[in-house]
Symmetry: C2
Subunit: 683 residues, 2 copies
């Protein structure tokens, strides 16, 4: 480790190493790059970023890069002073003649995971939930979050600075209408809201006698002095062995659909669409291999990709081919202007594209065509290579989960019975152990989301994230719910198992079995082409309804192929959705039941939509689900008397499949446990 930082001699050594490695960067270039690297998550491989520097860095170069990274990262950040931050923002608003400003939890891509740079809501208020918005006026301010985060807001936010509001029960629009002074200008960043959201803010501001004003130059960014830069993580090719279809073929197909819809170009703002379309994967945000960027797809199937070139690993140009031209991110506006000047009909999706895109297109004279993002549907329909990949990934992932569950079956009761000075196995250790089992897997890259590891009452919070403060020990007679997934090059997994530590109560068994009946009803559903997930949702709930129970989340979400663990456009939900389930789509099947303050139950497998085998008498082509996830369902929680013989047959057949698939992949102790855990229920 060097004893002096950043001096000339160090950079000289680094320069030599970089030249030896054939790098396109010199030391100064690497210094310039590193703040962006630090603004990206570490991901599964903390040194993956070095691929940006050289294809095969020597050990010496690795060491030097590691040191430089430590140097640039600097010490721990100072304690946040939210009062000072709020005051600075208000002063800036005052300088700009604004009476207020909206700070949503959002980035330019309306993504689920934000880069550090876009964590404006957390920076300003301290609130780190995955959804919310702050409204800052001259004399008051409020932070809005939904019911999941009521407690978290109280813990994280200084409510002397920000009134805590319930996003659904006290919506922002009503608050603006009631609090914005007449004549005041309410600012918003058009990059961070969709058109629909802007319309809501505008109506509210006008109701208050105020005005809504776009601020493309975000006033919060102006006062956030140490705001991280945009993240820089390597963008790699996603090879045909995993992607299954060439980018040129995909671009041709989507371009044809564009033309059929009467558009001449489409603005792509969703990084997962771009990743799919170009067969690339990045690392700019946590848990999802996205490269934050924009693209314009033209009717001739060419793409202009607005991306920081420094993120491309050496050789990626060749992978992209001639149909893709690279442009700097800040050239997007000029490109839209050109489309506008040519009077082109340009498609953008009002549900996901930033309002900025529409405003710019209109200002430039283009005719924006409002339409569904054109990559979403073809991306959702996985091809045979992707399906084969996800089946492989699910076998490996199931083996890891099996090893974890086998370990847990011994460890948790033993430690709960007094063998542990801490009072039992903790939720954090359990989650870490599960990650360890996954980490060794072929093609494993990262978790697909932060593991939900909840014991007892913590399991009753469907979106629980364990912290040292919230952590509980797994106690005897309690349920433990673990919802986790991995990002593998060949597929994305997402699985929930609920297990009893020691002996469960009769009520737990009864409710678990009702959840299982719902799970089986989805797993065995047979439905005609054209059926939507909204139509199937009730099958997952009917057994709970009979007992006066229900669960307050969707039954299933779409899942990507080494992409987002949540993707559209299909889903299984009581919320109306007009997208038909089509062969190749992957969705989760995850009914649950949550008893507040007591325990939570969820049984989640991923399933793929398949064409069902024809049966004699069939009049219509029928679809069905193939269950992809392979892991035992805790039989100590199953009450066979509540199951029909068909349901028992499904459970036994599933367990036989799990046993057969996983036994060859696990150690002997796990195999033995697996044998018992998957024993048949029927006679």
């Amino acid at each position: 480790m060097p004893d002096r930082h950043g001096d000339d001699r160090d950079d000289e050594v680094l320069n030599d190493l970089l030249i030896q490695a054939g790098s396109r960067f010199d030391a100064a270039g690497v210094r310039e790059l590193l703040p962006g690297v630090l603004a990206a998550p570490e991901g599964g491989d903390a040194e993956a970023w070095m691929a940006l520097i050289a294809e095969a860095p020597s050990d010496a170069l690795r060491g030097a890069l590691r040191a430089l990274r430590v140097e640039i990262a600097g010490g721990p950040a100072a304690e946040a002073d939210h009062a000072a931050r709020l005051a600075a923002l208000r002063a800036e608003l005052g300088r700009r003649g604004l009476g207020g400003f909206a700070v949503p939890h959002a980035d330019e891509h309306q993504g689920e995971y934000l880069p550090l740079r876009a964590e404006r809501l957390a920076w300003l208020t301290g609130f780190t939930g995955s959804a919310g918005i702050a409204l800052v006026l001259a004399d008051e301010a409020a932070v809005f979050a939904d019911g999941r985060y009521t407690l978290q807001v109280q813990t994280q936010v200084d409510t002397a600075l920000f009134a805590a509001q319930h996003l659904i029960e006290q919506p922002t629009a009503a608050w603006i209408a009631a609090h914005l002074p007449a004549g005041a200008k309410l600012g918003y960043d058009p990059w961070l809201h969709t058109e629909i959201q802007v319309a809501g803010l505008r109506t509210a501001a006008e109701k208050a006698g105020g005005e809504l004003v776009a601020c493309p130059d975000n006033p919060l960014d102006a006062v956030w002095s140490d705001q991280p830069p945009p993240p820089i993580a390597p963008i790699m090719a996603h090879p045909l062995d995993f992607a299954g279809r060439a980018s040129a073929e995909k671009r041709g197909e989507v371009a044809e659909a564009l033309r059929a819809a009467g558009a001449e170009a489409a603005v792509l703002t969703l990084p997962d669409s771009i990743a799919w379309l170009l067969n690339v994967r990045g690392g700019d945000v946590a848990c999802t291999p996205l490269a934050l960027s924009f693209a314009v797809l033209h009717g001739d199937a060419t793409v202009e990709w607005f991306v920081d070139r420094r993120k491309l690993v050496p050789g990626l140009d060749a992978h992209l081919g001639n149909g893709v031209s690279l442009r700097a991110p800040d050239e997007l506006g000029a490109a839209l202007d050109i489309l506008g000047q040519a009077g082109k009909r340009v498609l953008a999706d009002p549900a996901s594209a930033a309002a900025w895109v529409f405003e710019r297109l209109r200002a430039a004279g283009a005719s924006p065509v409002e339409g569904v993002e054109p990559c979403q549907l073809p991306k959702a329909k996985k091809n045979e290579v992707e399906l084969a990949g996800t089946r492989r990934a699910h076998r490996r992932d199931g083996a890891s989960l099996g090893r974890f569950l086998a370990w847990l079956a011994v460890e948790a009761p033993a430690r709960a019975e007094g063998g542990d000075p801490a009072g039992g196995l903790g939720e954090i250790e359990a989650a870490e152990r599960l990650l360890e089992f996954r980490r060794g897997n072929e093609n494993f890259r990262d978790l697909s989301f932060d593991t939900i590891s909840g014991a007892g009452p913590n399991g009753a919070l469907p979106h629980y994230r364990v912290t040292p403060e919230s952590e509980r020990r797994l106690g005897l007679g309690e349920l433990y719910l673990v919802d986790s997934g991995g990002q593998y090059l060949d597929g994305t997994t997402d699985v929930t198992r609920t297990v009893a530590i020691g002996a469960p109560s009769a009520e737990m068994r009864e409710r678990f079995t009702r959840v299982l009946k719902g799970h089986i009803a989805i797993a065995t559903a047979r439905f005609p082409r054209g059926t939507t997930g909204s139509q199937l949702d009730t099958l997952a709930r009917a057994a709970l309804w009979q007992a006066g129970l229900d669960f307050d989340h969707g039954t299933g979400h779409g899942v990507g192929s080494y992409l987002g663990v949540h993707e559209g456009p299909q889903r299984i939900s009581k919320v109306p959705n007009t997208v038909a389930l089509e062969p190749g789509m992957i969705v989760s099947n995850e009914p649950g039941y949550y008893k507040e303050g007591a325990y939570g139950i969820r049984i989640e497998n991923l399933v793929a939509v398949i064409e069902d085998e024809a049966r004699p008498g069939d009049e219509r082509p029928m679809l069905a689900f193939e269950t992809l996830t392979l892991a035992p369902i805790d039989l100590s929680l199953v009450e066979p008397a509540l199951l029909t013989s068909e349901e028992i047959a499904w459970l036994d057949a599933y367990h036989a499949r799990v046993r057969e698939a996983l036994a060859p992949l696990v150690d002997e102790a796990t195999a033995k446990w697996l044998e018992a855990a998957t024993r048949p229920v029927a006679g």
Copy 2:
């Protein structure tokens, strides 16, 4: 019968009779009234119109009025010459500088049943289906209808004049875009389209380089020389014994909801809403007791009712009370102008109000508030008096249907076996017989829709209407499907039964039983508050899906209380619908199966949403359905081996209820048949 018509002496006699009866009309007034009376359907009572003339007309007055009606009705209409009509319309379009005109199957209220005056599509093209549109250009014309009517269009329309188009597969917008000459003006009557429909026409016309032009003065009406006048049928009070809630109370509640929605008034264009709100019933269209009219509800709960005063039976003013002011129908525009000049926020429903309403409001300077029609939801939630009424009506209706089914069980096979020179019982006679059984019932007023009476392959047409040309005889080994309903003062019924004539095939039994499983799944559904009919629809289909079967219509529609047999806003359908089912709502439960060219199956009961009895362990308030319809389900079509024990228990309990309720109301022979027809399936 007088030998001379319309002479002075006859009118003198009539005048005397009118004076004696205390009528508000003299003979000349009655002469003026009668064309409107003739433009209304006869309904269940061909002389109901006489209530307009006098409260208790003497026999002599009745005779004179009957004679005058015959005189004014004149002889049968001349054969329609559609070529001449089309030519006349084109000439009129030419005079107005129009290149085309849209002729939808619609009236000013977007109603299901049209008054004669609004049968423009039938007048022009000959097509009498319940949905469709004609587009007339200078050199070509087309008529558009959906798949139900493909055959009917071929039969009724001269395709040398009008190209027959499939409404869904060859939509009007695409046809306009392809056929309207550039620069041409396409006219539409803003009274006959909603705003959404107008927007579609406009986009299409502009795509063709043409222009869409509103024609408030309908050019077809200008050339339809003997177009009937608006119908004049008596508007009667719907007494509190049936309505359950006073109009003033309803108006107060809806006005409060209006104010809460930020509106100061609402334009009501749906006659069933007005009937409900004012507790009145009319007779302007077939099968539904509607008074065609408009209303404006003000925020202070007063109503301006735009209605032809001549339709009000004597004494109705007192029933209406002070909160309702009567205005002539043609004063609606001026009233909207006044609202506009006062800058009022006026609610209208873009899904049901004529585009004319929005155009007029905007022209007058009002701020139209687009919102859901404010009476629809409160009207749908029947009160206890309405529910008690419908239970009574269903008992009477069930007794009639029971008598019909008992008669059919003997008559149909006997006549099919050769006892009938015509080769068996015909569909028309069967429907007439069923009407006869209903006609004698207390409070019976009319059918609630034209009876669907389909034997064999005719039953496979879900919307079949028998004609002398299409009629079939009920044959042995065939299924007979009869879907019918009555309008009773205390409730509206709608019921379908499918019965086997002779011995059914194993396939018929299997499919009938699958339909029955779906029916039972809806009948026994238990669901939390907030659940929509869209969420329940799949329960009706799952058993069919397992066998690769389905049906192509909704599972259930809302039903009014002595009002429309189809009403919103709730329904049970795979089409997304966000309206939650609420206690008091009535919907049909009518899964089916149709084998083209062979047979049709449908089992339909009406059900009311109720609060379900709490069960131990319930965590949420649960809703369920109470089945209202009482009629045996043909056990010869039930295959018990396909039913679960719970399903058999439902069927037996339902049949026990049917037997108990109907036996006291029917003759001995029917009671005996009923005993057998409702025998338990279990053990």
